[in-house]
């Protein structure tokens, strides 16, 4: 298996005793993209993600896509973001291109099959655990289904021959990668690394250049 995890606790927002994570000023990414600290290829890449999605048929069928979108709302929530990321749409488009990242677990079927079956599995596990399909279940129910799949060996015929924990890991990694490539997520975490055109000189511990955001509540 991969990853020696330090205790998987998806619902714990913080380890007790640790200070809360900072919040960052909104609009930093947009301001940097409008300025001259970003190279042309970088600006093009980030702006493309802000542009409306290209038109075209969905790869996944309507039922599967609806389950995917509902899962994305729990796995990569967009609440509070001025520009939400359409993670489900981007994932579906990627499935449609057949583009891969260069590998998959041998234990999983090819991506298109794996995801079609896994999404069906979410629905079957919801029926087994909550007596209703994934879409008919409330948020707490959806979280319970996702946690059961992540833990491996959930109820549901779709999981026969599809290792649930591995599939979950693959899905989650793909969704998270789409999310954090987007300016909205990068704004949320105070990331300014793409604004490298002038180079960086203040690179030491605690050092900051004017164009890098400070966390909110950190003084003027």
């Amino acid at each position: 298996m991969t990853g020696i995890a330090d205790g998987r606790n998806p619902r714990d927002a913080r380890v007790s005793g640790e200070p809360p994570a900072p919040h960052w000023p909104a609009g930093t990414v947009a301001a940097l993209l409008a300025g001259d600290a970003v190279t042309a290829p970088t600006r093009a890449a980030l702006r493309a993600r802000l542009a409306p999605a290209p038109p075209g048929p969905r790869h996944l069928g309507p039922a599967a896509f609806a389950v995917l979108a509902a899962a994305c709302a729990r796995l990569v929530p967009q609440d509070g973001r001025a520009v939400p990321v359409d993670v489900a749409g981007a994932f579906d488009r990627r499935l449609g291109t057949g583009a891969g990242d260069g590998w998959r677990y041998d234990a999983l079927p090819p991506d298109a099959q794996a995801h079609a079956r896994g999404l069906r599995g979410l629905d079957e596990t919801a029926r087994a655990l909550r007596g209703a399909g994934f879409l008919e279940t409330d948020d707490a129910g959806r979280d319970a289904v996702l946690a059961a799949v992540q833990a491996g060996d959930p109820p549901g015929a779709a999981w026969e021959g599809l290792p649930a924990a591995l599939w979950f890991e693959e899905l989650l990694a793909a969704l998270v990668e789409i999310d954090y490539a987007h300016p909205s997520a990068q704004d949320e975490i105070g990331y300014a690394g793409f604004a490298d055109r002038p180079g960086w000189t203040a690179i030491g511990l605690g050092e900051r250049e004017d164009r890098e955001p400070r966390p909110l509540g950190d003084g003027a």
Partner: protein, 514 residues
């Protein structure tokens, strides 16, 4: 660029333009040979083509699918596999430590693993040459290994937040650290600009500072008359009745099949694609070792949050090193490891967080808001060759219609013990530096050993010069030839061996023995 007419045999045909292929291209062309290189990917113009954006840089990675099996399935793609003129050096972190003499004598010294059929003294002059061409920035004197005749050509790069934190933690434990040797010049070098600290080495250097093959060996090779055929993917190695390579068939950028005859073939496609080509074509398989003994360095990372703002996207990512753990006293394992401070980009970090800690939803979001406080340490540690770790051809076909490689990898007892030792030490360093919420991410780095060198044709694919035992005009130059993994990153050693292979080839040619 000189173009060689299609029907004529060239002196040297090279497959792959990365760390293994590019140096020998330059050396052979410089000696007056006719050289053609086939590169499956394209040639980039970094300033125009490279975005400072992880997702946009996906074209640098080999994305034809590999199947990953075994108890510790290895990640490919962005983890360890490049494509394009420059190969995996396009995405390497520019971390270029030398091996130490005992790295080449693991079996003699510990009773496990394999010895190299080379002495360190034979590699040393090539290390010096490569460090000079790349413009390696590093400390002089270097604290570990034997005394050096020549120091690094350039002083160290400035340390980023992660480097300072690791330095602090290590000092509290009495562990020696030093600025790491990195192939990114701290001052302008050989027509390249100084490193700008953009920290994006692992997804393409847009400034031309990083010593990747495309801005160092390839221009030299082209200036000396080598021909580069980009977007040309080798498919068939043809041998004649005399058992020698006659030439290579390949698919060109327009999808047409072409054939290049050659007097000698240099296979430099990396430890996945090199054995794959040999297996597909039934070439050089007599030893039974092609594809066998796949190794990957133990590369566990420990991440933590700090009260200080680290902003981990700036500075050379591998700023600090310790080799005090090269052969740890009292170890219950053979070999050892180095420790490296690491910066990280947000998509890579978020993805590892998801895979390694299983965080999602608001918990993931909250953790990621602390990204600017994050720093990491990783190890680069020995991996023993195991018979059960190997590459084979599966029955699934990829986008090019070729059988997908399947790699079986399971870490052994030695790797587990080494990793446990290293994890405890990394956590202790981070604890001493003020870490909060440390977490470990197990991973394996690089692809190694699938066409190994040796002295015995029954146990090895190539000899000490990289020449195939069963095919006298086939030479292999890439990470596949390593009989042991080494306790250091491979790039410098691959490039040094590439130059040495070229020199040994030229020597055989002079003797009429090529």
């Amino acid at each position: 660029m000189r173009r060689h007419p299609e029907g004529e045999a060239v002196d040297a045909l090279v497959i792959g333009t990365g760390a293994g292929g590019a140096p020998l291209m330059a050396r052979l062309a410089g000696a007056g040979l006719s050289v053609v290189a086939l590169e499956a990917g394209r040639r980039w113009d970094p300033a125009a083509d490279f975005a400072t954006d992880e997702a946009a840089q996906e074209p640098l990675f080999w994305t034809d699918e590999r199947l990953s099996a075994g108890g510790d399935p290895v990640a490919f793609g962005r983890n360890n596999s490049g494509i394009g003129v420059g190969g995996s050096t396009l995405h390497y972190t520019a971390y270029t430590p030398r091996a130490q003499p005992d790295d080449l004598r693991l079996r003699s010294e510990t009773g496990v693993g394999e010895d190299w059929p080379l002495r360190f003294e034979e590699l040393e002059p090539y290390y010096e040459e490569v460090e000079h061409v790349l413009g390696v920035s590093g400390p002089d004197p270097y604290p570990w290994g034997p005394p050096r005749r020549r120091g690094y050509p350039l002083p160290p790069l400035p340390p980023n937040g992660a480097a300072r934190l690791m330095e602090r933690g290590a000092a509290a434990l009495g562990l020696r650290t030093a600025p790491a040797a990195n192939a990114a010049p701290s001052r302008p070098w050989a027509g390249r600009p100084a490193c700008t600290n953009r920290g994006f080495c692992q997804a393409g250097c847009s400034t031309g500072a990083k010593g990747s093959a495309d801005v160092t060996w390839i221009p030299r090779a082209l200036a000396a008359g080598a021909e580069l055929r980009e977007r040309c993917c080798a498919t068939r190695i043809e041998t004649g009745r005399d058992g020698r390579v006659a030439g290579v068939a390949y698919v060109d950028a327009d999808g047409a099949e072409r054939f290049q005859r050659c007097a000698a073939l240099f296979l430099c496609a990396g430890a996945v694609e090199t054995p794959r080509l040999l297996l597909e074509n039934g070439v050089a398989l007599a030893s039974g070792q092609v594809g066998r003994h796949f190794m990957a360095h133990t590369g566990m990372q420990v991440w933590a949050r700090f009260d200080e703002l680290v902003r981990p996207y700036k500075g050379i990512p591998g700023g600090l090193i310790s080799e005090d753990t090269h052969r740890p006293a009292g170890a219950d394992f053979a070999g050892g490891y180095l420790l490296q401070s690491i910066g990280v980009m947000p998509v890579t970090y978020a993805s590892q967080l998801a895979r390694g800690r299983g965080l999602w939803g608001e918990a993931l979001r909250a953790h990621m808001r602390g990204y600017n406080h994050v720093a990491g340490i990783n190890i680069l540690g020995e991996c023993l060759p195991h018979a059960g770790n190997f590459l084979e051809l599966s029955d699934e076909r990829d986008g090019r219609g070729r059988r997908k490689p399947r790699v079986h990898f399971t870490a052994g007892e030695n790797e587990h013990r080494l990793t446990a030792h290293a994890e405890a030490l990394m956590r202790a360093i981070w604890d001493a530096a003020g870490a909060r919420d440390p977490w470990s991410f197990q991973r394996f780095a690089h692809t190694i050993g699938t066409a190994r060198m040796g002295t015995d044709p029954a146990r090895a694919v190539v000899d000490r010069d990289g020449r195939a035992f069963d095919v006298p005009n086939l030479w292999i130059s890439d990470n596949a030839t390593f009989p042991s993994a080494l306790a250091v990153n491979p790039a410098l050693t691959i490039m040094a061996l590439s130059l040495r292979t070229a020199d040994r080839f030229l020597e055989t040619a002079r003797r009429g023995d090529a």
